[in-house]
């Protein structure tokens, strides 16, 4: 349906730089095992003698646990184990949290969200485990719930009484003379916007298979965690074991994550490991979909925005003032930095020097937040685009012209924000002009979707069409050191020095095997991004060998460095940089081994295209011949690619101030053609135009897949998806009939055009590609809806724009 990049299964000729594979749509090496059903996801990992667990979950949003009676469950003939908070307290530890919070893997004394696990039951299979779980009898004293940020801010009911407040954290950043800008500006535009609670909802739920070995007093835990090398502490600290005793293994494929499995699943790893420890048998637990939706530690941001824009009559934006309240759920977890990542794109694609940014994070009786594709940036982008839309209307100016005149210009690149992150490269005005041109040529013409005659005729039927293009940004490859600012006082941040900054590199290791082939080991899990394929492309070019002679596997958490992994649109930049470095490192090792063998100076040996050659002589060894002379103690070579933002002095100020730095800033200009049926409140996206620039493209088909998939997520967030709750704190979307994912019937045809502006900051020129579509679509769809409804004077202010919300607006404001 879409206009995608050309296919290329054939091996092309090498270009001047010796590249044959990088930049082509080499077919994915991951596909064969997936397509034939052979690949093992977490649910498919089968250890001999494995037992199966089920969880007893709380039916109440907020309640004191009076008693957990396990006697009936334990008397069931198939019951192997019942684990409760009391058992965990006796044998294990709390799970580390954020802002000083710690959590028990099973609810201890009190449940704080509906579906919170209270007990784990282990039996021979999942069916009977669920039978036994039904026999666990828990008595509760039900408490009043806190179900939104406004109720939370009253502090009348406290989530954690010992803290005395539901306000988990707040901060304010002021850049420039904000009050002065608002006093001086010709106009001040105010708005309030709501972002519904959504998340990634991958097709595979979270789970773990744990195997305790009493001989070594250590654990092997197979899991589908994202960032398993980085977040392993959530598991091993819960067990009270050192990191090296808890080996986390990931399968070669995770069935989607989109950020969610950074936090989701850690609890299950810990609980399955505890049960395996108690029973000295392997134990598997994989949540079912209802558990995932109800309480899978998997929700993400839910924000209430209040904004002000200072803008002159001529359209010059003088200042922006944005504050939001975010509903964290019952505990603050790792993904807190979602609150401050938007500082990396503070004014998004616009030049605004004077900005106030404030957040308040509240604890409520809902599922705690995890990360989700976009990581707080889509909400920020949504709020700013909605504000610009309102400003254009109030000033009576053309909304696209208002945007255009305030865009950061290419001659300002690299562009430093007041919040000190730097946009590396790009031409935002050209992108906006091109998307306008595309829409004009194809849709605002006779027979097009926006043919004025057609638009008029459709209005007669109650169908309103419109589009509102905008340029939005995807910050990529962050140095996540700023995450620790949440546990630091202002004085500690003030005293922070450049030497204190953690670097967040990406590691690869490689082994030359006896047959002359190369195995590359990743220290990150993969959930569909094609990491194996991209690494093979780059390594094949770097070593001048065939992709067929390279394979890729995954280090376990005890073997792998602990720095980070696949998140933050990092891997295009970081894995490609690491692959280039690793290939160089391998060449050096090969030359050294050959030199030792030949008794000559390594400088007289050259590695190229799968062989080492002694300069000036006839000596030559293929990699297969060389293998026996290469030291096989440990890996043949390892390489850590330093994050470009860590390496470049331009980013030092931001790093020292613990502000987010993202060295690659990808951008897109998107224009969805929307049609609103005012009789039903239904919004249809008729076609979606996107112009996308993520710098150097490593694999066009993979990038295209990321772009289109990300747009589909943004469509879900804008129109369909929401983890709503009722006043008693009961979740209203616990099935996929209620939490609506985009299907083939409501994702439109996409017309995607690519520009390639290489990043000057990254080794390969690549920028991130995984989040931009999500960030963009969920901002430009609601603004396009407002554009469509302009003749009626109706505006939406809340996503998702569901039919009932839209109908309520139309009833209140028109009829």
């Amino acid at each position: 349906m879409s206009e995608s990049a050309p296919k290329s299964s054939e091996v092309p000729d090498a270009d001047d730089e010796g590249k044959r594979y990088t930049g082509t749509s080499m077919r994915r090496v991951e596909d064969f095992d997936i397509l034939t059903g052979r690949v093992d996801y977490i649910h498919d990992i089968d250890l001999p003698g494995c037992l199966h667990a089920a969880l007893v979950r709380a039916p109440h949003a907020h309640a004191a646990i009076e008693e957990v009676d396990t006697s009936a469950a334990e008397s069931h003939p198939d019951c192997e184990l019942v684990l409760t908070a009391a058992d965990i307290e006796e044998h294990y530890q709390q799970t580390p949290g954020r802002l000083g919070f710690k959590e028990w893997a099973l609810a201890h004394d009190r449940v704080r969200f509906a579906g919170e696990p209270v007990a784990m039951v282990v039996a021979a299979d999942r069916y009977v485990a669920e039978d036994v779980a039904d026999l666990v009898d828990v008595s509760y004293d039900v408490l009043d719930p806190v179900t939104d940020v406004y109720a939370a801010s009253d502090d009348e009911v406290l989530l954690h009484e010992e803290t005395g407040t539901n306000l988990a954290d707040r901060d304010e950043f002021v850049f420039g003379d904000v009050e002065g800008a608002f006093e001086d500006a010709d106009n001040v535009v105010e708005g309030e916007y709501s972002w519904g609670r959504i998340s990634g909802v991958p097709m595979e739920t979270a789970g773990a298979v744990a195997d305790y070995d009493s001989d070594t007093d250590s654990f092997d835990v197979h899991c589908n965690l994202q960032l398993y090398t980085f977040n392993g502490e959530l598991v091993y600290e819960s067990l009270g074991y050192p990191a090296e005793k808890v080996r986390l293994h990931v399968p070669e494929n995770i069935g989607g994550s989109f950020g969610t499995k950074i936090a989701a699943g850690a609890r299950y790893c810990a609980l399955a490991a505890m049960a395996s420890h108690q029973l000295e048998r392997p134990v598997k637990y994989v949540e079912d979909r209802i558990e995932y939706l109800q309480a899978g530690d998997s929700h993400s941001c839910e924000r209430e925005y209040s904004v002000r824009l200072a803008v002159d009559d001529d359209g010059t934006i003088r200042g922006y003032d944005v504050s939001f309240m975010d509903d964290l759920g019952a505990f603050p977890r790792y993904p807190l930095p979602q609150a401050v990542k938007p500082l990396s794109v503070l004014s998004t694609s616009y030049h605004i020097d004077t900005v106030r940014y404030e957040y308040e994070l509240y604890l409520t009786n809902k599922v705690p937040q995890t990360a989700y594709r976009g990581f707080g940036v889509q909400q920020h982008t949504f709020a700013l685009e909605m504000t610009l839309e309102k400003a254009a209307r109030e000033l009576g100016v053309d909304p696209t012209e208002l945007r255009r005149q305030n865009l950061v210009r290419p001659d300002e690149m690299p562009y430093e924000l007041p919040s000190k992150n730097i946009y590396d490269s790009g031409d935002y005005p050209a992108a906006l002009a091109r998307i306008e041109e595309l829409v004009d040529e194809r849709e605002r013409c006779e027979g097009g979707l926006l043919d004025p005659d057609v638009v008029e005729a459709k209005r007669e039927e109650g169908k309103y069409r419109g589009t509102r293009p905008a340029v939005t940004l995807e910050p990529s490859a962050g140095v996540i050191d700023y995450a620790s600012r949440f546990e630091m006082s202002d004085d500690e941040i003030e005293a922070n020095t450049r030497e204190d900054v953690a670097s967040f590199p990406e590691h690869l290791a490689a082994d030359l095997r006896p047959d002359g082939t190369v195995t590359v080991h990743l220290a990150t899990s993969s959930a569909g991004q094609g990491h194996q394929t991209v690494v093979i492309q780059l390594m094949a070019d770097g070593l001048g060998i065939s992709p067929a002679d390279i394979d890729v596997d995954y280090l376990n958490s005890a073997e792998a460095p602990k720095d980070f992994g696949a998140a933050a649109s990092r891997m295009g930049i970081m894995l490609s940089g690491a692959s280039v470095g690793l290939a160089d490192e391998l060449a050096t090792v090969f030359e050294g081994a050959a030199a030792t063998h030949w008794g000559c100076d390594p400088a007289d040996v050259t590695y190229a295209d799968g062989a080492v050659t002694r300069d000036g002589g006839g000596d030559s060894l293929s990699l297969a011949d060389l293998a026996e002379f290469v030291d096989d103690d440990g890996h043949t070579a390892t390489y850590g690619y330093e994050n470009p933002a860590f390496d470049l002095p331009e980013f030092d100020d931001a790093l020292v101030d613990k502000l987010p730095t993202y060295p690659g800033t990808a951008y897109c200009a998107d224009a969805p053609i929307v049609e609103v049926d005012v009789n039903t409140g239904h919004v249809d996206i008729l076609r979606y135009y996107s112009l996308h620039d993520c710098g150097t493209v490593l694999n066009p088909d993979i990038v295209q897949g990321q772009v289109e998939g990300a747009i589909a997520h943004g469509i879900g967030g804008a129109l369909l998806e929401e983890f709503a709750y009722d006043d008693s704190g009961q979740p209203l979307a616990v099935t996929m009939f209620d939490y609506l994912l985009p299907s083939i019937t409501n994702v439109p045809e996409m017309v995607v055009e690519h520009r390639e502006t290489p990043s000057p900051f990254t080794v390969t020129g690549a920028k991130g590609a995984g989040e931009g579509g999500t960030i963009s679509a969920s901002a430009v769809i609601p603004t396009s809806i407002n554009a469509a409804l302009e003749p009626l004077g109706v505006t939406v202010d809340t996503v998702p724009v569901t039919p009932d919300r839209l109908r309520a607006k139309l009833r209140d404001e028109v009829e």
Binding site: S2, E30, L35, G528, L741, I744
Partner: protein, 167 residues
């Protein structure tokens, strides 16, 4: 699934032809077809994504018809012929539908892929030369969270071309 248990659990016989092989088992009647195929037949290409009939990852063909195996008890389909994704490829030779998904980049994480491939097989059996509307109707019971669907349309068209005249 039952050999480890000690409690009295009801049992029923079920006999199926799965990917061409006759399979006979004694199982609990509450065993879902998805779990039966995954655990008794070791056909873990049958993915379990929602277990309430929305996502379609568990789609298999029962007597040629696409069926959500998570909403079907194995005993309901006794004496039937069941096809799963494992039955499509011939050794290292991919079926044209699988090949088309590969060539069109119509999979990323792959968790939904078995279901899409089986639904596509049923779709093309009914509409060997489908249009967009027929593809939508045939695949609207499968959710893909990664691709945004457009390469899946392309894959179906490519498979239809490749299979012209039957598979």
């Amino acid at each position: 699934m039952t050999e480890h248990t000690t409690s009295e659990r009801p049992q029923r016989d079920v006999q199926l032809t799965v990917n061409g092989d006759a399979v006979t088992s004694t199982i609990e009647p509450r065993t879902k077809l998805s779990d039966y195929l995954r655990e008794e037949c070791n056909l873990t290409g049958v993915r379990v994504g929602c277990e309430h009939g929305v996502c379609g990852a568990c789609t298999v063909l029962v007597d040629g018809e696409p069926v959500k195996s998570c909403l079907t008890y194995a005993v309901q389909v006794t004496d039937s012929t069941v096809e799963t994704v494992e039955g499509l490829s011939d050794g290292s030779e991919l079926h044209p539908i699988q090949e088309a998904f590969h060539e069109e980049n119509a999979l990323q994480c792959g968790f939904c892929t078995s279901g899409f491939v089986m639904s596509t097989k049923a779709l093309l059996a009914e509409h060997p030369d489908p249009d967009d509307e027929e593809i939508e109707a045939g695949l609207c019971g499968n959710i893909c969270r990664c691709t945004g669907y457009s390469p899946i349309y392309d894959a179906v068209y490519r498979a239809a071309d490749a299979m012209e005249g039957g598979d």
